[in-house]
Symmetry: C2
Subunit: 634 residues, 2 copies
């Protein structure tokens, strides 16, 4: 069978199909001017009254007959008797006998206000706001297609207009689906959910986005994976709403009936986009209404919402569009763009538009950006990103230093932001808030001790020198290349073996990690903790092949501890605070110095100054002490 | 007496005083995550659960034991019996015996799914979303000072968080005051309001602005000009709200008690700004709360709202501010800025920050901007503006061609916008909508026939040549300077004398306009209608001094007709449609050709193409015919 719809199309093609299908499908209604804010006018609007409706004084002063002021000047003032002048405020009307307003500064009165001394000769209509100065009755004051602004609402009232014809704002329905999806109330009510389930969280993202955009959306109850129920709900949704969104699998999963349902319900417009994430998006026309299938992973839902649904909402509300990409910025809440250099090499998939969630920092006058994870399932990366970048389908290997335009979604003060790279530590993660309270800002990349020194304002290291058992010296020396560094010893921390609560495998010493019945979880190459592990391994004369799970990599202490906690591993090497945080047992091995390394030139950087000052913050130090496993230097 | 507060200060000084006075005056409360959108977190937020809470499949495929796939490849597939594989969807959990997921494309099954053929050897944990991949229990997922985004709301749910501590959103009260102010309901109920009154329209602008910004405001009933009542209301407002705005005179008017009331209620922070408009702004601290006095003219209210109130709202909600001026852009709803050249010379007042409401057009590759009226009372100019420009206090004479940065508040497609200059005509004013329906855009400056030709895409003229009684030829020739112009005869229109309904002054012929008992209203120099008037005047051997009101200038036909309608004049020269629109009488004098003049190079400009096509639009032509006084060319 030949498919009646295109597959694997570009975002632009998808939007063009949608535009061509649903253009002009709008209806108008009359709304009170207060409710018209943000709506598109469906007709020209004419003033029903003159504004102002009578000539009025344009300032505070005296209404006079201009002819009575002839010849008046500072040197030759003219005196007017009572009855020939009258006080008027700005906006007041003039008595019928007066034709001009004398400003208060061009006059003086005696105590009883019996006479007025005039220091200036006035022509007729002086300081007078003429009738209709603002608008005149019958004048077109707003046009079909104009978006109603605060100024227009106010002007409508002044011009005697109570309601205006506007394009009806589209109303959307979101239908979450999936047997594995747990409702929000149920999810929150019990922390111990079954495996294989997930919270119905996308509707929160969608609702919040609609709220930010000023559109209404209803959220339907979660539907099970049953094509007949889904079909019925879509058909009814298309009858009652202007736009239906389905949160459903549209990949090749066995329970993904959406395509079949779309085919039964109406006409499929397209299936799958050449976009990453967001690839499994799908659209249909059902009872003349658009139905969009949003892929289930949060980042996939987000990008389809921004790049397909938001433009569609604008189309359905008759909002003019100057440029397709500017709509995406609007949708994101992007306030400004930054031209940045890519901090690390990035491989993009050929032929796919790719969305990157990036963070930014200005290091030494170069604004760098780096992508956070590319996983569509990772919501934190979306929350943490400073902005978004879109790589066009033509991008393949983006070298370090490539130009990347970032659509900024957060207000970042680059001049006050310190960028941290290096060894991960939960105590350091606590610092951000204290740095911010001191007017600085802080962004960190956990890249391990060896990855730290480079394009950053501050690095952290706890690197053991295997040759002499010392820490950091030889490493920093190797990297210094003539540069001057300041070293700040923050604390000593205890490294050891993290094991399950109760230590069921009776792991008592390092050599136990080589036992056959013990599954270990390792850290990434370059991490100080891995260097330490390798050092101990060598010391007892064993090799990586002797360790079950040596190849399994975590990038933070907490991640490693978590693998132990959840039973994916029996043991990990890590710091005591990570074990404590998850209620795990801990066998101490050694204490290591944790040092910050700051290039001398950045010691006065506002972000670094705030960071160094934060290290003395009592509240932070209390927090670190409560975490356990740290010791302050003397 | 020495005043305890600064006067006539700059905007930056005013904002600094406010910042120093009210910084840190925030309180926190816990809100449901759904209500936290847009709020600022008052503490760090830690995940209460792992996300995902169990390891899950990262794709659709088969859960297998990795060890059972050893050696599998396309050339050497491995067959697995039933029980050794199990279908899993994306997000599903794995059976306990499985440790990896085989993607569907790396496998095949027989009809009955009794055996699975594996084409790829898998390591452990392949295609598996590890527990805590997104966030780990105990991890900080958002920080004090972060604004809650749609992604955060969603992430909070996933991480098991139901409510979060946020900075309380400030709530404002607006108090309109003034004996002359008419409530909205009363204003709309009767089109014949007393002179000297005005609608309470500012509250609509303020409410709409707050709505766009996402802040709450209550509107108090209108207060009379009574200092005691005002004092009481301010004191109670400061008790119950975080911010009180007063719409009140703060100039030198006799009824302007606001300063006195501020002094009695609390501490005046500043009075008057070096800003135009917005000069009479004032601020006080009352019961530790900010109270801002908004000057009464709409544009003055608007600029103080944008530049003082909006930053204050951000301050009271603990929103970080990178750059003062970017807040103003936010407040305006500015989406982008344009670098433009000033189309006409503009004189700015020394030492004053000046706000300009501007329109923009791209003519021949230069983006021009021109200010609309500078009158603070003119609301239409605010509604009509494409954006705002701020001239710094140092600006004095801005020559034509000066660089002006425009903060754009509307989406303008410069490539499709035709700019019209020249003779005003109500029928032409109707065209915009038809041009827009054809994908073009249209902006016009009524500068009179003689002012038209120049920096524009299209001009219009009906200029009488006094020497030969012909129209336009000699004028266009004079301006052409080698350029080629296309001339489009749009219609003939009847010019004549506009008089009051019933013609009470019995004005029957042109010479009657020179009668002593007749007050005339004229058009501006350069207007074709004025040229016509002068031609007739000369023809009957009279001079301007013989005409009562010759010096009185209107810039459009409607404005002239309106002066007649409202009794400010007995007669005006103008077109029949203007008289008809206001139900006035009309004495025809002549019929003149109204021509559009387009430089040849712009004939294919999308805006001009749409304009020329619109001239054939039946709906527009019907509208013009209904206006009366026009005749189409044969």
């Amino acid at each position: 069978m030949v498919k009646g719809y295109p597959e694997h199309i570009s975002l632009d093609e998808a939007n063009e199909i949608i535009r061509n299908t649903f253009k002009g499908r709008v209806s108008e209604h009359c709304v009170n001017i207060k409710d018209a804010l943000g709506c598109v006018l469906s007709r020209d609007i004419k003033a029903e009254r003159n504004v102002p409706h009578c000539a009025a004084s344009a300032g505070d002063g005296y209404a006079v007959r201009s002819s009575s002021t002839i010849g008046a000047a500072s040197a030759t003032p003219v005196k007017l008797e009572k009855g020939l002048f009258q006080w008027v405020n700005t906006g007041s009307d003039l008595p019928t006998w007066a034709d001009s307003v004398l400003m208060v500064e061009d006059s003086s009165t005696d105590e009883d206000a019996e006479t007025l001394t005039v220091f200036r000769s006035l022509p007729p209509s002086m300081n007078l706001r003429p009738l209709g100065e603002d608008v005149m009755a019958g004048q077109i004051i707003a046009r079909e297609g104009d978006v109603v602004s605060p100024a227009l609402v106010s002007l409508f009232l002044c011009a005697g207009i109570e309601s205006v014809p506007v394009v009806r704002r589209p109303k959307a329905l979101f239908i979450p689906t999936g047997d594995e999806i747990i409702s929000q109330a149920k999810w929150l009510s019990d922390a111990r959910q079954k495996s294989g389930t997930a919270a119905e969280s996308n509707s929160l993202f969608i609702e919040a986005s609609f709220k930010n955009w000023g559109y209404e959306i209803d959220i339907a109850p979660i539907l099970p994976d049953d094509p007949n129920i889904l079909l019925d709900k879509i058909m009814r949704g298309a009858e009652n709403y202007d736009l239906v969104l389905i949160g459903a699998g549209s990949a090749k999963g066995r329970r993904d009936h959406t395509l079949e349902v779309f085919e039964r319900a109406g006409r499929v417009l397209f299936r799958w986009l050449r976009m990453k994430p967001g690839r499994p998006a799908m659209a249909a026309e059902v009872s003349s209404k658009p139905v969009i299938c949003l892929p289930g992973f949060p980042m996939s839902t987000a990008v389809v919402l921004w790049s397909i649904v938001y433009p569609l909402l604008r189309l359905l509300s008759s909002k003019r569009t100057v440029d397709e990409r500017s709509q995406i910025k609007d949708a994101l809440g992007c306030k400004y763009t930054l031209d940045t250099k890519l901090l690390l090499q990035h491989s993009s998939q050929a032929g796919m538009e790719e969305w990157l969630r990036v963070q930014v920092a200005d290091v030494g006058g170069t604004i760098y950006s780096w992508p956070l994870t590319s996983g569509a399932s990772v919501l934190l990366a979306l929350a943490d990103a400073d902005g978004m970048a879109m790589l066009p389908p033509s991008s393949l290997e983006c070298e370090k230093g490539s130009d990347i335009e970032v659509m900024m979604t957060k207000d970042v003060d680059l001049s006050r932001r310190a960028m941290f790279q290096g060894s991960d530590d939960p105590a350091v993660q606590l610092l951000t808030t204290y740095i911010r309270r001191r007017g600085g800002d802080f962004v960190s990349r956990a890249v391990g001790s060896m990855g730290g020194l480079g394009e950053c304002h501050v690095a952290a290291a706890h690197l053991l020198d295997e040759s002499d058992g010392g820490y950091n010296d030889s490493f920093i020396e190797r990297f210094s290349s003539g540069k001057k560094w300041e070293r700040i010893l923050v604390f000593y921390r205890i490294q050891g073996i993290i094991v399950k609560s109760g230590n069921p495998k009776h792991i008592l010493k390092f050599a136990d990690l080589c036992r056959e019945d013990v599954v270990f979880t390792n850290r990434q190459p370059g991490a100080g903790t891995r260097v330490l592990f390798d050092y101990y391994l060598k010391k007892i004369g064993r090799c990586p092949a002797d360790v079950n799970g040596y190849a399994q990599q975590c990038t933070t202490h907490m991640e490693a501890a978590n693998r132990v906690s959840s039973g994916l591993a029996d043991a990990a090497l890590g710091i005591k605070s990570a074990a404590d945080a998850l209620g795990l047992d801990f066998i101490p091995l050694t204490e290591e110095p944790y040092e910050l390394v700051v290039p001398e030139e950045y010691m006065t950087h506002p972000g670094i100054a705030a960071l160094l000052d934060s290290l003395k913050d009592e509240e932070w130090r209390d927090g670190v002490e409560r975490m356990g496993g740290y010791r302050w230097p003397n």
